[in-house]
């Protein structure tokens, strides 16, 4: 078990092809690890053991015949519970969807299915992905595998915890405003938010369609490249997915950063905790020693992006979550006599507080009276996105912390400024639709620190090459 659970996805893939172990053994190892750790972690909301073993057996037959579907054939994975899985309940960690069984697969899930990856189960999240510590889940929080008294980050906290704990070899998450990168940083794994449109959003129960992206949680940059290769690409069911062909993400991933130009975002140093600042600067030194040039760059509008993000994200959420009305699926309040009451009561009882708060905020900024706030945020978004794209026409990537702090204790009272700051560095890439990856780099008292690289639109190949160099230089 320990052997499998400690492997990377590509490491396991090689072992499977050499028939050193079977896909079934790999799945069983992860399931055994779950039995051991889940009571404490609660990374999963649903474990589909029987289906997983059947899929693993099918993979073994292909591997035995020497006809694996892809490098991920037979590799066990976890999927965030806001990505639809046909026949497997998809709850979004909400009472609203407690018994919801989708009749269809999310495109990213079906692509991984076609690649032969084995779905172990569905992971915990903040309700409807609204939160940063996997604490708003209606089914209870997830703990950080490195220190279970601490949060795993969020909203893809279940996916990050599962991968960090060896309960899956990789996982899908979603990233609207940092929801994959931040938990990856707090759990010490790699988290990629691809360019907006790189992976189909079809079947992702997102809340902010112009910001949502399917994200990846992996053990290292190479695995990330392999999973991206399996999931990226145009999908005729998502009009916002890009028709640009995906890159050969693994090709030359180990070629290093010599000659690359990076920009350290100056404002991020002041806003980060000392330990995070220290590791970031160490990463800069490492990149320079590997032959990259690192300049400092000022992004003065960095702080304005956060309220803009909240306004736009909430506005879209208020509309996207309006469909949950207790009519066609989901929670239905009992004891109501007319449809208006049915809708109001189903929504009021089915949604948790944070979700209601964002829906109301979003409704508020879209009303005629408050329209200015929304329009202003839209304009700011367009302009900051242009500025970042302009910076990236010269620099290969921008360097920022992922989270300004390491994982905090669950229930610890945090000052409002810290709460506010926690999304500060992850939101810019979301707002601009740019790819960004969080890579573990250093630690503080055993707790991992993540550094974030933001790349050019559809430049995931170069971005992951740089991430790989950071990773290899981190020792």
């Amino acid at each position: 078990m320990d052997k499998v659970c400690g492997m990377t996805a590509l490491g396991l893939s090689a072992a499977l092809r050499r028939r050193e172990l079977s896909a079934r053994e790999a799945a069983l190892a992860c399931l055994a690890r779950m039995e051991e750790r889940e009571p404490q972690l609660h990374a999963y909301l649903t474990v589909s053991r029987d289906e997983a073993l059947a899929e693993a057996d099918a993979a073994d037959r292909r591997l035995a015949a020497g006809e694996p579907l892809s490098p991920l054939d037979g590799v066990p994975m976890a999927v965030k519970d806001n990505l639809c899985t046909k026949g497997v309940r998809t709850t979004c960690a909400s009472r609203m969807l407690e018994g919801f069984v989708p009749p269809y697969d999310a495109e990213a899930v079906s692509r991984l299915g076609r690649a032969g990856a084995v779905l172990l189960g569905k992971t915990n999240l903040d309700e409807f992905a609204m939160g940063s510590d996997t604490g708003t889940s209606a089914f209870g929080p997830t703990a950080n595998p490195i220190d279970p008294s601490r949060v795993p980050g969020g909203s893809s906290g279940g996916s990050a915890a599962a991968v960090a704990a060896g309960e899956a070899l990789f996982a899908l998450g979603s990233d609207t405003g940092g929801s994959v990168r931040q938990p990856a940083a707090l759990c010490g794994v790699v988290g990629l938010r691809p360019t907006y449109g790189r992976i189909s959003r079809y079947g992702l129960v997102g809340f902010g369609p112009s910001l949502d992206q399917v994200g990846l949680v992996t053990k290292d940059a190479r695995d990330c490249a392999a999973v991206l290769a399996a999931t990226a690409g145009f999908d005729p069911h998502d009009a916002t997915s890009s028709r640009q062909s995906p890159g050969a993400y693994l090709d030359g991933i180990g070629d290093g950063v010599r000659g690359m130009r990076a920009a350290l975002v100056r404002e991020s140093l002041a806003e980060a905790e000392p330990c995070v600042r220290r590791e970031l600067l160490r990463a800069v030194a490492k990149l320079e020693s590997l032959g990259a040039r690192v300049d400092e760059l000022s992004l003065p509008f960095l702080k304005d992006m956060l309220p803009a993000y909240h306004i736009l994200g909430s506005a879209e959420a208020s509309s996207n979550l309006a469909r949950f009305d207790g009519v066609r699926y989901g929670f239905r309040a009992s004891g109501v006599s007319d449809w208006r009451q049915l809708i109001r009561e189903s929504r009021s009882r089915g949604f948790g507080l944070e979700v209601k708060r964002r829906i109301l905020l979003g409704t508020f900024v879209l009303t005629k009276e408050q329209r200015d706030a929304y329009e202003k945020a839209r304009r700011l978004r367009r302009k900051t996105a242009s500025s970042m794209a302009a910076a990236l026409s010269y620099y290969d990537f921008l360097l920022l912390p992922t989270s300004p702090e390491v994982a905090w204790k669950r229930g610890e009272k945090r000052d409002p400024v810290a709460m506010y700051r926690s999304d500060l560095f992850v939101v810019p890439a979301s707002i601009a639709g740019l790819p960004a990856v969080s890579v573990p780099f250093g630690e503080e008292n055993g707790l991992p620190v993540g550094v974030q690289l933001v790349g050019r639109a559809f430049g995931e190949r170069e971005l992951l090459r740089a991430a790989c160099a950071v990773e290899e230089g981190r020792a």
Binding site: P102, D238, A239, T240, A322, Y374
Partner: protein, 476 residues
């Protein structure tokens, strides 16, 4: 209505586009199907499903705009119109708010002795809602219609009477239907119109408070609702009362309008750009191509057929029921020496013409009308043959020969027949000789009956006359 007021009307017309599939998903569009059998995650608003715009819906919306002389926006966008109603699965309708696909057109309608131009403010693309079936214990929801593409056409307040409204709707329906963009069936809801009506004192230029009349399911009901509403508003003002903006329904039983709900000032749809769909971007070339694909207008065709073939208005209207029918006639008319006969023949069965594609080739239609014009067959036979060709297209000349349907002109065949008839009907013969010339008609009628209409009437008549005059009989 009091003659002291003038009625001011604007129309909002919703038309379901005749695409194969829905606006944002690949579910087939079919009227009257079993409930919830044309549904998918997208049109039932399931979590995670995303809309993808139907190219045909865009094309049809633009073509409709071109028919109404609109400006086509090369860049338009889709927006979400947010409101709750159980027939709207996503709780928002994908529509177009501030950048509609077409703006600023017009339609010229007959009015008084001349014509009047009704200005079109905008035409935009949106999706239809589902169907609610209200029953005793509750309401049932059928999502088959959810997501069917619609265009909404909004006019300026240019109408002054119910007649103008009816004329506009008829012309609009004919053009849209003729171009194949919609069936425009009011009874099936594929054409629906809301009437915005206000009145004002004659001579005034300010607009009064308007009522929005909804659920008008036929042109007739629209006219009745307008007439009622004019009287009601006048009565309120005459009594010194005040009108306020409101939505009113129409009761088909009583012919009256009734308040549905006060149009609340706080109803706020919170429109914002649909983030799941990129803007609609068209090129000048694309729009030009679509314009070139539009058929000639039916009124233009009718006028040409009148001038060149002498086809009367009623017949021409039957032939312009669909573009397919009109085009089939145009092609065949060019090949026959008797285009007017062909028009009458085709127009005799308007229901069949309206069905869709015309399954008979132009050559065969032309040949058929030539047979009729040459008097090889009579009009009854021509109709039978057309029905036959409709079932299975074939050369009517061969069919006439094979089935022995041609006129009987052979005297050797007809002479014994007339003798036989005269022998069987001594009474008619005697009447004729006694000066009752009408008796000849009854003899001819018998000859037609006995030959299933194939006896050549001229030859038969001649033979009867010869016998009657040559062989006078004594009365018995």
């Amino acid at each position: 209505m009091s003659t002291r007021y003038e009625t001011v009307i604007g129309l909002e017309t919703h038309i379901e586009l005749k695409t194969e599939t829905k606006a944002f998903c690949s579910c087939a569009v079919e009227f009257g199907a079993e409930p919830n059998t044309h549904c998918c995650p997208v049109c039932t608003g399931m979590p995670g499903a995303l809309p993808v715009l139907n190219a045909k819906a865009v094309e049809f919306a633009v073509k409709a705009g071109l028919l109404l002389h609109c400006r086509v926006s090369l860049r338009s966008k889709l927006d979400r119109k947010n409101y709750y109603y159980p027939d709207l699965p996503k709780a928002y309708q994908i529509s177009q708010y501030d950048q509609p696909i077409c703006t600023g057109g017009w339609l010229e309608i007959p009015s008084g002795g001349g014509t009047k131009r009704i200005r079109i403010e905008r035409l935009h693309l949106e999706e239809d809602a589902g169907k609610l079936i209200h029953g005793e214990g509750g309401t049932l929801l059928d999502c088959n219609r959810c997501g069917v593409p619609l265009i909404e056409i909004v006019t300026m307040p240019d109408f002054r009477s119910a007649e103008e409204v009816t004329a506009y709707l008829q012309l609009l329906r004919e053009r849209i239907r003729f171009a194949g963009l919609s069936d425009c069936r009011m009874n099936e809801g594929s054409l629906r119109c809301d009437v915005n009506l206000s009145i004002r004192p004659l001579g005034s230029h300010a607009l009064g408070e308007r009522a929005e009349l909804k659920n008008l399911n036929s042109f007739q009901f629209a006219a009745k609702a307008i007439a009622y509403e004019e009287r009601r508003q006048a009565a309120v003002l005459d009594a010194g009362g005040a009108l306020f903006p409101e939505t009113r329904g129409f009761d088909e039983g009583t012919g009256e309008t009734f308040p549905m709900r006060r149009k609340e000032s706080q109803s706020d749809y919170r429109f914002f750009p649909e983030p799941d769909l990129p803007p609609i971007v068209l090129t000048q070339e694309q729009v030009a191509r679509w314009a070139s694909e539009l058929p000639e207008l039916p009124d233009v065709l009718r006028e040409r057929w009148r001038a060149t073939y002498g086809v009367n208005r009623e017949t021409a209207e039957a032939l312009t029921v669909t573009r397919a029918a009109a085009e089939a006639f145009e092609r065949a008319a060019a090949l026959t020496r008797f285009p007017k006969l062909l028009a009458t023949l085709l127009a005799a069965d308007p229901a069949r013409l309206a069905e869709g594609e015309i399954p008979v080739s132009a050559e065969h239609l032309a040949a058929l009308s030539d047979l009729l014009g040459e008097k090889t067959i009579g009009s009854g036979t021509a109709k039978e043959l057309l029905a036959l060709l409709w079932k299975e297209d074939q050369d009517p000349r061969e069919a006439v020969g094979r089935l022995g349907l041609g006129k009987i002109t052979d005297r050797a065949v007809l002479e014994p027949l007339t003798r036989e008839i005269l022998a069987d009907s001594p009474r008619a013969a005697a009447d004729y000789r006694a000066g009752k010339k009408a008796a000849l008609q009854s003899l001819l009628g018998q000859a037609m009956r006995r030959t299933q209409g194939r006896a050549d009437p001229d030859v038969t008549r001649e033979l009867f006359l010869a016998s009657l005059q040559a062989e006078p009989r004594k009365e018995e």
